[in-house]
Amino acid sequence: MWVLISSLGLKPIVPLNVFWILTEELNLDVKKVILITTPESASSLHWLPKIFNKMRAIKIEAYRVEEDFDSMTNTVRVVINRALSEGFKVVVDVTGGRKIMCIALFNEAIDKADAIVYLMLNEPMYSGTFYPYIPKNITKLIVLRGSLSGG
């Protein structure tokens, strides 16, 4: 059982794409998605869970953090620790959101998470596109640390 922890920015399609790859392409058993967001990019939270659930019935949690590195780090630490204590394998996605948020996520996940992933896209014109509609040769999920096997 996996939990996906993802930073949510102004492009909500990003965590959706990562979730699609993990569940549909890699057949990972993701049971829960945790979104870390700033107030600025939280507006999509009222509809995003519906879309996740269109793909697969899962539990979704969201945490709003202030744009302050320490506050972000603390929240991320609590979230990762809780997921681990609940017995999940943790995959952290650092593609979307503010840079500082991604750094905070990466920083905390580096020793704890089972995998850290980043969705690379070689053509900016596809940046708002849903994954199955992006040509496969221009996008790739990179596993920065750990591995996505098992669970």
Binding site: L10, K11, P12, I13, L16, W20, E24, S43, S44, W47, K50, I51, K54, M55, G128, T129, F130, Y131, P132, Y133, I134, P135, K136, N137
Partner: protein
């Protein structure tokens, strides 16, 4: 075999999945032989027209004189153009005019459409979507002659089968629907399909009040005139009466010459008949469009994906015209195979995308 309906846009993820391991596309004319063999990958389209070889030509021409080499070549050029793999010559100039990049003449624009523009689907693929979106005052002029020519293409099919009255002067939707019921997926001729599409598109323009049909008594009085001349002259007269800036849009030399004789602006759009062996820079969307266009023209195609075969059928099964308008396609594929797995993903992706489209934020994020 399993079957599913997909929307036209879902061809994009479908092709995206099946091209992972490359695939072959055989385009079959119903009841005939393979006409075209295409090897695809996601970076380029490699087009090999096997049956233009002497042997195959002989074989084809003995069966159906329609598919002689020149026609076949033009049909392929047409498909490449319609799918955006190869743009028609002259399209840039037309788009500039539609988008008002030329500001030297601020009169309302009127496009006089020759029948062949509507029939070669350039209109559908390149002009019609732009016209629907264009905000300036724009008038599409259709002469009685053009309307009659469109109708006669449908009628010729109907006459061959003999299931509809012979005297349909102006075909409206119920007649088209009945006509399609006669054929279903069995595919009317290419011309008849295009005629039906043209009538549908002109109907949409009429709803937007952009269409002007020219019915003037003077036209019948001068009907001894050569048809192309009649088309241009009737549009010219109407444009002059309304101070429209006229542009005659055609695909043939003859109408173009008629326009020049009558001192009208004219633009000739033609497919690139001498298409190159290898076309670079073709996108996934182009490939999907190509497959869609070919399916809609021929009614039925087959894709060989590894050991499996995917049949794509233009979805109009005589039950509802709505399905066809929405661009739905019927897929048939083996149960429990790799294709079945891909198509399940495609259907899921389609439902997610539909939900995303409903949400404004998604639009904003684009």
């Amino acid at each position: 075999m399993e079957s599913s309906y997909i929307l036209k846009d879902s061809l994009i993820p479908l092709i995206n999945y099946v091209t992972e391991n490359k695939f072959n596309l055989d385009i079959l004319v119903p009841g005939s032989y393979t006409l075209m063999h295409i090897d695809l990958d996601q970076k380029a389209l490699e087009l090999t027209v096997d049956n233009l070889s002497e042997y195959n030509l002989r074989l084809l021409s003995s069966l159906d004189s329609v598919y002689r080499s020149k026609k076949l070549r033009l049909a392929i050029a047409d498909m490449l153009m319609l799918s955006g793999c190869l743009p028609p010559q002259g399209i840039d100039k037309l788009l500039d005019i539609l988008l008002e990049k030329d500001t030297s003449d601020l009169r309302e624009l009127a496009l006089c459409l020759d029948t062949n523009i509507l029939f070669n689907r350039i209109f559908s693929q390149y002009v019609f979507p732009k016209i629907l979106k264009v905000e300036r005052n724009l008038n599409i002029l259709i002469s009685r002659q053009v309307e009659a020519e469109i109708g006669s293409n449908l009628l010729s099919e109907v006459r061959r089968v003999g299931n509809l009255p012979r005297t349909l002067e102006i075909l409206k939707e119920p007649e088209i629907k009945t006509f399609l019921k006669v054929y279903g997926v069995g595919a009317p001729s290419l011309e008849a399909r295009r005629a039906a599409i043209a009538i549908h598109e002109l109907g949409l323009l009429e709803q937007q009040k952009k269409l002007i049909k020219i019915y003037r008594s003077s036209e019948s009085a001068t009907s001894r005139l050569e048809p192309d001349f009649l088309i241009v002259s009737s549009c010219k007269k109407l444009a002059e009466e309304n101070s429209f800036k006229l542009l005659v849009l055609t695909m043939d030399d003859h109408t173009y010459t008629c326009a020049q004789i009558l001192k009208c602006n004219a633009l000739k759009l033609i497919p690139q008949a001498n298409f190159p062996y290898r076309i670079e820079g073709v996108s996934l969307t182009n490939i999907s469009e190509l497959i869609y266009v070919v399916t809609m023209i021929l009614g039925f195609i087959r894709l060989r994906v590894g050991p499996e075969v995917l049949e794509i059928i233009g979805s109009w099964r005589g039950k509802s015209l709505k399905e066809w308008r929405l661009g739905r396609l019927l897929l048939r594929y083996p149960k429990f195979g790799i294709l079945s797995k891909y198509i399940r993903k495609v259907l899921k992706a389609d439902s997610v995308l539909t939900a995303l489209k409903v949400i404004d934020q998604y639009v904003g994020s684009n």
